[in-house]
Symmetry: C3
Subunit: 242 residues, 3 copies
């Protein structure tokens, strides 16, 4: 079955970092696109861009490419963006796939779902950097890409870009809970993911907000896009198929 996928990156990433997974999905016969959201492009104004801008850029991308029967996959922060775009894109959607991704309730921001010490850390970084935030390397290495060796942890970190903090603080615009949206939903959980602490986890805390959903697991950390691209592509296919 040849399906159409759009992979939506997380904070600090662009679509380019998802290409190894996209290539593996294309090798299985699928059409796969990896746009870079507003806010993470080279010349974007990080001081200004918020969640609504990122959502609008995704909606525009899907409509401009006239995509249909779409499997819309969001990673991490990308879960905020596909959630915000879902209602507007509904007639074009076959399924939403959350990959260790945030699942907001109406009116929630990403910051409403993270531990207080993350919010405190990023508040400080944003205040000192014109509202752009970077992830300190120590946290990246230990808690985000815990399954990489030091060389990969370092090279992957070098690919990241400063992230517009308003996308973390701005509430999502949702008219109803995602559980009420009549579209297929899957949650893919990378079992070594500790980007959120196990005591405040992705699954089942956030996944069960989807109502009836399909649960899939994958090896690897929050950054399995770098460390386990082939396994992650297979898991995305198991999550995204009919």
């Amino acid at each position: 079955m040849a399906d159409t996928y759009v992979l939506v990156h997380g904070a600090w990433h662009t679509g380019a970092e998802l290409e190894p997974v996209a290539r593996a999905l294309r090798a299985a016969g699928h059409t796969v696109l990896c746009p870079t959201l507003a806010g993470n492009r080279p010349d974007d104004d990080r001081s200004r861009i918020g969640l609504a801008d990122a959502v609008a850029s995704l909606v525009e991308f899907v409509e401009a490419n006239d995509l249909r029967q779409l499997r819309l996959v969001g990673h991490s922060y990308g879960g905020m963006v596909i959630s915000g775009a879902a209602a507007r894109l509904l007639p074009r959607l076959a399924r939403l796939v959350y990959v260790n991704a945030f699942v907001p309730q109406p009116g929630e921001s990403l910051n409403d779902m993270v531990p207080p010490h993350y919010k405190a850390l990023f508040d400080t970084i944003a205040a000192a950097n014109g509202n752009a935030v970077m992830l300190p390397f120590a946290i990246w290495r230990e808690a985000f890409i815990n399954d990489a060796d030091h060389e990969l942890a370092t090279s992957a970190y070098a690919a990241l870009n400063p992230h517009p903090y308003r996308t973390f603080t701005e509430p999502v615009a949702l008219e109803q809970p995602l559980a009420a949206l009549t579209v297929g939903k899957s949650y893919l959980n990378c079992v070594l993911d500790t980007a959120l602490p196990a005591s405040l986890p992705w699954h089942p805390r956030l996944s069960e907000r989807l109502g009836l959903f399909r649960y899939v697991e994958c090896a690897g950390s929050h950054e399995a896009w770098f460390t386990q691209p082939t396994a992650l592509a297979q898991a995305i296919e198991a999550a995204g198929r009919d």
Copy 2:
């Protein structure tokens, strides 16, 4: 070591659907039997048959075959049935093995252990169908056989049969908690199982009712009998051996 196993199916199943796993266990040298419980046979009266009838049919089967040093394996609803039969079969038992199965306390019914929305759903279905219940395909596909492709999800669903609801609502007859039963006990958890939600899980919520028990894991969903029969057979052997 050649052991004797009886595999006890879950709701909506018969012994026939367990045959792929049984064949893999037989290939490892074991004797394996897969009876179909009262209530799930073609001509059984689904309006009337309850848990005590299903338990009696299992006891009768084991006694009629004069099985000894038996590893009695129950899947899902089958956990209610092996629990109800255990005390009567005790001299014949080497070990009880629960495979993502219900472990009741004395006086509990299966419905006492499921989420309220399952009970509400099945109450409605039973009322409209002469006390027989079927599992809606959407729930089957997303939450029970989440690791299958669409073709296998569909063909496996076609093998199911209407289930007598009194086996869900009738309390089990137990004289003492299963933890007090002096027989080996194992709990086998298929790690992708979402037939019960992760917030109200099989393990450790139900497994720890066994007291001292052996924990084993397997790949796959609640329906690993269809999707992972070889892995499941190996895990049952690891759970069932001395």
Copy 3:
């Protein structure tokens, strides 16, 4: 990268039982030492030796061998010992690695972290055996080495030695929480470990006491040293590397 590891055994073990894992790490180019702690040596006085003695024996071992850039790995009870030794060895340490190991808060004993029925059991055994405790075979077989066959479960049990109970009851001497210690920290969790019950688990209950830490998983039970030595060695390397 050739690193230096010291593997610190758990209760009832000596360094000898860790040798299969040590050999696999040495085959990957590392220097690996497996001392036996005070209290578990053949002629040690089990009635007298406590946690401070075991900690002192580890500090002495590391200093006598003048080890530097050390990856200090503690298993189970060994987590108490590396925790107690860490501050004194700090200039020599590259990283602490806890393998299903106890992570104490200042002033806690091992017994403060186990289920009440374990404490009651060991109190009774210690009182009857001059303050030395053994682990009953049934608990060992079902809850500690659940992934072994009966032959390995039996032969591994024969290698154990009586353990000095004062190392379980004596509080650890820590000047500050381990989270405040400026050294790399990893927690390695063997996914079938049921030596502590899943409702009172190693991870995240104890692991998150480390503050920022790297999480790694491995196949196998609490006794993966016997059942999964190659996989455990690879996981220790993933946990211990920079």
